[in-house]
Amino acid sequence: MYDLLRGPVFWVSAAVCVCGLIFRTIQMFRLTRAKIIPECRLSPARNTPARQVSDEERRLDMVARFRNSVIWRHPVVVAVSAVFHVCLFAAPILLVAHNMMIAQAGWVALPSVPDWFADLMTIAVLVCAVFLLVRRIALPKVAAISSPVDYCVLLLAVMPFLTGFLAYHQLFDYKTVITLHALAGDLLLIALPFTKVGHMVFFFFSRLTMAGEFCMGRGRRTWAA
């Protein structure tokens, strides 16, 4: 069973994941269109001359914007989310055991981090997940918009890490735990493009390309219809 999950089933899941993400990206392109940015020629007859803004005022403006940004206002949530997401990606990719399997399968040898560090990242994922869960339950505003799906998604993301942690430390029955670990990993891969976890595609696409107040890129795309 375990061999099946880490073998053929894994490759199918990985393929589903990659194809799904590509599909999602293509879908985003299809749902949007290139935006024609109108051209404006500033003429002295029509526009009042730009006000001289002192360096001091510019600095003040940047400070004020930062202090009113989500980073300053919700530092804990932002930090936890950042750590959670970084470790979510980094831990499985940089784990020695995973990379040995890939190397054994005749693929390239990927760089790895020491086991203790991967373990730390796993613990970070688990701690962050507990924080997010508690926040979801305890804060009325988050609870008000939470549906069972949101809890399932969190569980889905955390399961591979929980089982991986148990397996590494040989807690409970190793054979069962490692099988569950492979199963959870495969499930997460399959779910990635098709559930709320897929917000990764939307995030990058939207915040980097879509025109709007909060666009971090040039804003050269907009919704198609």
Binding site: I37, P38, L42, S43, A45, R46, E57, V63, A64, E213
Partner: protein, 226 residues
């Protein structure tokens, strides 16, 4: 909508100089939409003012509160419970909102935080263009939906004048001639008759404060109808 622009920080600081506790009121209407006076602008301006006064060792406190629209009593009345605590009010609404606040709280100094500039449209994110001078005598019906009052440098009712350079206004190459555009559009719609007749000058009434009471509501408000 009414388009506004945030005032320079120094000017706002000058207005607020001497007041220790200020309430900055945002408007969720037009000035919010044109990124000039919504909650976010209120918050950012308050931070700037606080930091700036603090650097100068001037005692200063400022809070922010944004209401749906400052041009309506029911929305500004929400401020009633808080204005008492403040020495002055800063309003991020258009001129109408500022005055409505000043009227409701006559014993409080009310200052504008934005310059109301024109009635315009949102061309693209962060780009607004004037479309209407609120002249009170709309001619768009015969000018092909292009306003000569706001687009023509001379606000001509009969045009073009002798000045257009190709499709541009004689004032600047970068300004399209409104009347050339009007002619083009009417011709395409086969409506050139619309501008063949001479249109008389607008009735420039004494410039008094504008007021509109809709017909069905006349009986409600007007006591002695002549």
């Amino acid at each position: 909508m009414v388009i506004a622009e945030i005032k320079p920080l120094d000017e706002i600081k000058q207005l607020l100089g001497g007041y220790r506790k200020v309430l900055n009121t945002g408007c969720g209407g037009c000035t919010s939409v044109c990124l000039a006076g919504g909650q976010k602008e209120v918050d950012i301006l308050n931070t700037k003012l606080s930091l700036s006064f603090k650097a100068e060792n001037v005692p200063f406190e400022i809070d922010g509160f944004t209401v749906e629209r400052q041009c309506e009593i029911q929305f500004i009345s929400e401020l009633d419970r808080m204005v008492g605590k403040y020495d002055a009010i800063l309003s991020m609404a258009c001129g109408a909102g500022v005055q409505f606040l000043a009227e409701r709280y006559p014993d409080k100094p009310v200052f504008p935080g934005v310059n109301s500039t024109f009635v315009g449209v949102n061309k693209d994110i962060g780009w607004y263009e004037e479309r209407c001078k609120c002249c009170g005598d709309c001619v768009l019906g015969f000018t092909g939906g292009i306003c000569p009052v706001s687009m023509c440098a001379k606000s001509l009712f009969n045009g073009p004048c002798g000045g257009p350079q190709g499709e541009s206004c004689e004032v600047s190459k970068d300004i399209p001639c409104a009347w050339v555009a009007i002619h083009k559009r009417l011709k395409a719609q086969n409506r050139l008759d619309n501008i063949k007749a001479i249109h008389g000058p607008r009735e420039w009434r004494d410039q008094v404060q504008g007021r509109i009471i809709l017909e069905p509501y006349k009986a409600r408000y007007v006591k002695n109808t002549e």
